[in-house]
């Protein structure tokens, strides 16, 4: 198993290397001069040229790429060209917000998607199956920013049930930062009121983010279970007198779920990137809004760092998914 894990990690490294090089080149060839942006609204051409030279932006692109690679390999993501602060500090502050939202959304999508998919398959072509299919198609087709606004209008404005934006009600302040996950930090601080407030703030963005994932998981689980139900061992198990529930959850689901697990891994990456739109609408101070602000201000250092961090998370999750698959189905590791 260890050799299998090492192999998966080794396969991820060239992808990350390619990501660093490609994103750097892309960030420097697209229109937008960071020096002009940094110089500010009232800058003269001489001032812009001075800044360009000071930050090495006047060097050949490959030389800049090499300097960037060396920085990244030494663990330095550089400073934001706008704020002058280390990008790693900004990301460390923002990442927990995105991860907290993503984890909760993934939890929702998984905990609801798998049972729904299973139920649909067990009621193949029945009313529940039709309902799940409609929900799946709807969940995938609905634009998330539209859904976000609709949920805000209904649950915040119309019914006044849930907060509209942000991670915590402003007058409450924030719990002392330990993990950056407000749900955890508020519990560590013994502040139940903050935990409740953080949980309430999570509901709408997490539901919005979870819906397409839920639909995907439900669909894959449904088709996996349907396929498994046709297998001989299910027929024999049925003939041996196993109960419907035991048959479905232990024999069928375990065999059908490997595809779903792969999808959950892929979804994690998709959810992090999908969080960009959700974070903007719900004013969630995570990595997505940070990336948008970096794009709008041509802060290429910040943008490169965000891309790299998301890439590393994505690669790590894929390795974990591979391991999980191997644990569920040992034949995967043997192959």
């Amino acid at each position: 198993m260890l050799a299998y894990i090492a192999r998966r990690i080794a396969l991820a490294l060239p992808a990350l290397f390619g990501l660093v090089v490609l994103t750097f080149i892309l960030s420097r060839v697209i229109p937008g001069d960071p020096a002009a942006t940094l110089a500010g609204d009232a800058a003269t051409p001489a001032q812009i040229a001075d800044i360009r030279a000071r930050y090495g932006l006047d060097r050949p692109i490959m030389e800049q790429a090499w300097v960037h690679m060396r920085q990244v390999l030494s663990g330095d993501l550089g400073n934001s060209i706008f704020s002058g602060r280390p990008v790693s500090e900004d990301i460390a502050r923002r990442l927990p917000a995105t991860l907290e939202l993503t984890f909760v959304a993934l939890l929702l999508a998984t905990c609801l998607g798998i049972p729904l998919g299973l139920l649909a398959a067990l009621n193949h072509n029945g009313p529940i199956d039709h309902l799940v299919r409609v929900l799946s198609v709807g969940g995938l087709a609905m634009a998330s920013f539209w859904l976000a606004i609709m949920l805000q209008l209904q649950f915040s404005m119309e019914w006044d049930l849930l907060p509209l934006r942000g991670r915590m009600d402003v007058p409450l302040g924030l719990p002392p930062r330990v993990t950056g996950f407000l749900l955890i930090d508020s519990l560590l601080a013994g502040r139940g009121d903050m935990f409740v407030d953080a949980a309430r703030h999570l509901v709408l963005p997490a539901v919005t983010l979870a819906l397409p994932g839920l639909a995907t998981i439900a669909r894959f689980t449904r088709s996996g279970v349907l396929e498994a139900l046709q297998k001989d061992y299910v027929l024999y198990a049925r003939a041996a007198g196993y109960g419907r529930f035991r048959l479905a959850t232990i024999y069928v689901l375990r065999n059908a779920i490997t595809v779903t697990v792969t999808q959950i891994g892929l979804l994690f990456g998709a959810l992090i990137s999908g969080a960009v739109a959700i974070e903007a609408v719900f004013d969630w101070p995570g990595l997505g809004t940070y990336a948008v602000q970096a794009i709008l201000s041509a802060d290429y250092k910040a943008l490169l760092a965000v891309t790299l961090v998301v890439g590393v998370i994505y690669a790590a999750v894929n390795v974990l998914v591979d391991v999980a698959q191997a644990l569920i189905d040992p034949r995967v590791a043997l192959q």
Binding site: P31, G32, D33, P34, A35, A36, T37, L38, A39, G40, D41, A42, A43, T44, P45, Q47, I48, D50, S80, F82, S83, G84, R85, Q152, L153, S156, M157, D160, L161, P163, L164, R165, G166, D169, V170, P171, L172, S186, L187, G190, R191, G192, D193, F195, V196, D197, A199, R200, A280, V281, F282, D283, P285, T289, V292, Q293, L296, S297, A298, D299
Partner: protein, 523 residues
Amino acid sequence: MHLLRSAFLALVMLAAQPAQAQAPRPLVWGDTLPATLDPHAIFDVPSQFVLLNVYDGLYRYQGNPPRLEPWLAESHTVSADGLTWDFTLRAGVKFHDGSAMTAEDVVYSFRRLLTMNRGPSAAFTPVLTPDRVTATGPLTVRFVLSSPYSPFLTAMPLVAIVNPRAIAPNVVNNDWGAAWLAVNSAGSGAYSVLPGNYQPRVSLDIQRFPDFFRGWAGNPRPVETVRARPVMETSTRVLALLRGEIDATDSYLPTDQVERVERNPRTRVARDESMRVFVIRMNNMRSPFNNRDARLCLTHAFNYEGFNNVILRGFVVRNGGPNPNNLWGNPPDLVPYAFDLTRARAHCDAARAAGVDLSRPLEIHVQNELEQTVQAAQMYQADLRRLGITLRIVPNTWPGITSSTTRSETTPDMWIHWVSTYFVDPENWVGQMYDSQFHGTWKASSWYSNPEVDRLLRAARTSLNREERQRLYADATRRVVADAPDIWVYNTVNLRGLSRRIEGYTFSPVGSGGEIRLMSLAE
């Protein structure tokens, strides 16, 4: 055990009632925050919130129309040749750490600004070097300019006076404390930054400074704490105001939201004519824009009334030239161009007769995140089609566009933006937009060149006589408008959504009404 107890308690509360804050709500300011708190590192519209509340300058603009008032300075004198400027400072000004402000602090601030060569330094570097700022006494400072520059005083409010004693322990690698000051403050303003709270563009908490040098007698119920929490999305910002989650939006409330905000009993819209001109630029160095008839054709093809009164619902004021209507130096007899497709067609025909090719598709760059620029381009596109001109709309961003305007070859055919109030002087508009010496800056991105206009603007820049300057700027403006290098559309009426519990909100085009010391919260 402690964790489990908290979790249980939390779950019980979650099932019960929404959390209610017991303390009265602080003022929650929903306008945009800057990327850094260092007032010498950045100069844009969001940074003015920090400049006005946390820092002070020697002079400051107040009210609308803005008056330039002595602030940290008591008075100034200028030599007859316009080169030597002496400022006498106010005694008894304290920084947030309690230390007294001296002339040396002013010298340090200007040297820091000019050496770092960022932010608002561009307003001074052509005429001022760090060594020409000196303290001539404990409370007197002298500036010796390399050439006369009459907007010098009007640009004074751009420069924050910082406390060198707070910065000195935090200087790393001769950086003038830039890394530290990016997330901390060293000012004397009416509010001080609550340490450790600031997150670039996300949150900033400031609290009232009781020893503020102007005192608080003018406001018996000042706001004690302000929590600035920018809201990124326009729709969320409006909803947050209506719901009471924030007390103020930014000052660019979409015109289609005005009625909605005013209908809500808890909110209102502050409407104030500002000094912010909406302009469609044309690259005058490129065909067909290098032909006056072609430019006039394009100028007459924009439906000013339709855009201003229908799309923007009349919440703007038609502005026929580069200077805001309400600024001195603007010729009062200026007649704005009108939407007239017949005249436009005649000018187009004249341009074609002169050999100008109007058949190539023209590109107009819009700022995608600013809806008005897109709306203007789409309306313009439809009208130009009636003249047989194809307009292609190119989505872009502010940095994307401004960085392309450093060379005429990379400057777009056309692009849309506003010129905000950085300092209240025609130099901020017609001076820096149409004097060819500014080519390569975004403000002069129409690449207009007219030797006579250059002469007038340069004479206005060096004259110390206000009447003469007024005449020179008016003359230059008339000539510029006659040449139609750009399409000037409107002067902004700032629209800021406010909670009704905010009292004393006072608008000034510089800072867009973000001066908190004047406000109080209704009980």
